[in-house]
Amino acid sequence: MLIGTRKGAFILRGDKTRRAWKLSNPIFLGHIVYHMVLDHRDGRTLLVAARTGHLGPTIFRSTDFGKSWKEAERPPAFPKAPEGQKGLVLDHVFWMTPGHASQPGVWYAGSSPQGLFRSEDGGRMWEGVPGFNDHPMRSAWTGGIGDGTPDGPKLHSINIDPRDPSHIYIGMSSGGVFESVDSGRDWKPLNKGCAADFLPTPDPEYGHDPHRVLLHPLMPDRLYQQNHCGIYRMERPEGRWLRIGRNMPKKVGDIGFPIVLHPRDPDTVWVFPMDGTEVWPRTSPDGKPACYVTRNAGKTWKRLDKGFPRRAWFTVKRQAMANDAHEPVGLYLGTTSGELWISRNEGASWAFLARHLPEIYSVEVAELSK
């Protein structure tokens, strides 16, 4: 497990049984680690997106699975604006995704404020993707610096179509879901059917707030998203979001941050609902933590809360829930109160995996052997 926290990163090493685990010492202790990701194509390159309260953003790289680290030689940054003009300033890299299997060394990164960056050498040197960063509609799509999450507006959920490296989806908070079919040279909004209750416009083309967007690797024409305004599924090429969260229990609602897909069954999806009422506490509804699963692409949902405390007041952030590829699938979630939870049986029961960590920002599974 690769764990990014408010105070550094951790690696939690487990065995095939998923019962024996050993937590590393903190890595980059004191840094805010938004994301730590393994390059699944080589099984050894790790990238860490970090900054500190004082120091600006950067990316650290390891090519030996965390034994040694080097800083990116040219981390992501927006271009310098011409004299007299105001340019964008990168606050932090929020998201990193390895590129297509056919493009070893290629990585994409999403930032706050919303920017898209690409590396072709395993994260050493980064360039902006001008087709997005300089797009004449970028400012309108993103709504500007003030229109984002409390922790800053973000570009996240970079999904590469496994059939076609030039076909890319991104999510933006705010902005919505966008698609490129030409390697990022141009982008189009993909938000039909998705609610944006916080906007005055009834059915806007963009300005939505997807919290997490996922494409199913075995059915790349199927997308799921956990949005600020519900849980959705889309079938391409139709391109319209269907609010499958309408089938969640009314008392729980369908607001949350993370969403996780079954690696072998495109109809099975897990979410971790949160309280999105009144002032948005973002804790579990009524303080009762529970995961929900659908096994029929969103027609019905089942509550999975065995093992969780009866009442608790943590939040699970959008990058802090993940799955492995075992049979049965293992689920993992990290909380803002520094607890890591595991389910070895697809959510049927949950147990502590680690506690007393700093506030968890991200959780990624890095399977080195099956």
Partner: protein, 88 residues
């Protein structure tokens, strides 16, 4: 001139708390330091050449507000991480 390095940046300066540097302006000085300690500059100066919000640079005892601030041989430079945290 001597440049005092705060602890968060000493991973770049091989743990040195004071280094020697050259330059006629703060910007030139930081560019020169970055040549020797790659990555140093971007942690404290953003891509629009703004000194980052929670970083202060003092020339002798006067705060430099921009990278254009002039330097003289013998100036004492302090790079300071501002006391701006404390809530998290």
């Amino acid at each position: 001139m001597k440049v005092h390095i705060p602890t968060p940046l000493r991973s770049y300066t091989a743990k040195k708390s004071v280094i020697e540097a050259e330059g006629a302006t703060v910007g030139e000085m930081l560019a020169e330091i970055d040549q020797r300690y790659p990555g140093f500059r971007f942690r404290i100066v953003d891509e629009q050449d703004g000194i980052r919000e929670h970083i202060k640079i003092f020339i002798n005892e006067k705060q430099a507000r921009s990278l254009g601030a002039p330097l003289q041989p013998g100036d004492m430079i302090h790079i300071v991480c501002a006391l701006s945290g404390g809530v998290r």
